[in-house]
Amino acid sequence: MAEPLIKLIDIRKTYKMGETEYQALKGVSLTVEKGDFLAIMGPSGSGKSTLMHILGCLDSPSSGEYFLESKEIGKLADKDLAKIRNEKIGFVFQAFNLLQRMTVLDNVLVPFTYSRIPRAEQMERANKALEKVGLESKKSNKTNQLSGGQIQRTAIARSLVMNPAIIFADEPTGNLDSKTSHEIMSILAKLNEQGNTIILVTHEDDIAAYAKRIVKLRDGEVVSDEKQKARTNMTTEKKEK
């Protein structure tokens, strides 16, 4: 078997809160293969957000090892982590986090600000990403003219433009109604079919149902890690090009 995309070995994270120490993660080990669609579940306080932040290189573990594409990144400096976030990781957040008063296209182009990709290619990739989420007709709209679903689709397009190794979706449907939620999840599922690795954080079972594998956390530890049956409306494995 090829090297896994992500390999976590005994990741621990301790927060100091004044005098007391709080262990958010108590030794998590996890492997994610390329093309996986993983849902991390757990009640609040289970450490799923912390795990997500560490996986997303927004935070560093207190101890343990984190290999991304076989490269140890747990101990990298801020500057290098920023580069990894830019090139390897796409984020979709619960609270959308688009830049206000900018057009859809401009929002999708933001990650390029921190890269060195030629302008023509930027436009090409942005247009392609907007096409994938079905927003090509809205690209000149300002974000305040969009519905919640359209905003989240813009965020998904933005997470795609750098061709990241993984897409992290942190409660992507938390602010959406159930119909829109399923729309968004279908898009994510389709992207996974097309070969994108997706890690989803959610506490809703029907949202997690879109994933191929569910990891449950409780009190900073993995309590279960199960593969799911493929959804009926989806083809299973899609071969990589």
Partner: protein, 395 residues
Amino acid sequence: MRSLVTNKLRTFLTILGIIIGIMSVITLLNVGESAQNSITNSVNSFGSDLISIIPGKIDVSSITGIVLDKPFTVDDVRALEEHDALYYGGVAAMNAQGLMTQYEDKTRRYTVDGIYGDYFTLRNMEIAYGRNFSNEDSQSLARIAVIGPKVAEEYFGEVQLALGKKIRINGIPFTVIGVQKPKDAVPFMDPNEIIYVPLGTYQKLLTGDDSVQIIYANSKSTDNMEYAQREVTLVLRRHRGIASGEESDFSIQTSGEILSTINQITGIFTLFLSAIGGISLLVGGIGIMNIMFVTVRERTREIGLRKALGATNRDILLQFLTEAVVVTVLGGIIGTILGVLLTYIFAAVANLEPVISLQSVSMAVGISAAIGLVFGIYPARQASLMSPIEALRFE
């Protein structure tokens, strides 16, 4: 950058301090420079080889700054004339006062100069029509006058009509024998609006006082100014019976010295007033810093998002620093434009040739950029050091 555009009013109010500061500095520097230029020109128009001698010692502890023991008289001027001078050439004397003058039914107040010796030559002035008067005219108390071209126009309509006409000064009729060629105006004094009469006549008939206000001499060569100055001093000291070792009871200055004194004074003024402008800039800068803190706080989530999308601390720092600098430079440019306009207005009012120094403009833009950097760096640094997780959670 976008937030600058969307918060137009806030941005404008923020940079108002910078605008006012830069505007005042630009105006003051350039008006100062214009004034200095005009003064330099007017002093130079007197002739750079000119030596001026005024009676009295300069004494900073007295109210007027000058202690006057013994005034000059025409005798002092004659002593200089009679001396077989090696280094100085012409000698002249002048008294001046504003007096009521009259021609037919027109009455005007003009500066009347009582002059003696080579005054016209020393002050680089020429006669356009008619003739000049001589020292004999002064001795014989001749009631004759040479008038400035503007006086001639005012009284006679045309300059050519002036010759032979009688104007009254303090009620005493004087015959116009010459009209002076026009000369460039200098601030606060127009040399074309002066009436010249012989010094003797002036003293006896107009003021009844035989003192001389100022004596002029010129150096034969500008290279020997110092020697000429020393020679004049020696002749006057001997004539006035001042023992060696005793201080002279008169003060002597060359054009160059007068210029540097004036420049020093205007320089101090300009510096002082610019410092006030500088305070305004400082206050403006603090305003910028304040608004940058507000902006950073308002955009905490944006900072978190940008970091998540790959912005390094440095990227965030530069983003906010750039915004601060763009705002202040914008203020600097607006302030510069207003300052230049104000300089032109001031110059027009004060009858100055406006001078806009490129140096002051580039300095203003440079200073405003520096203010952006200095006052923007702390808020920008605060933004750059935010943890992305905390920033994303910020409500």
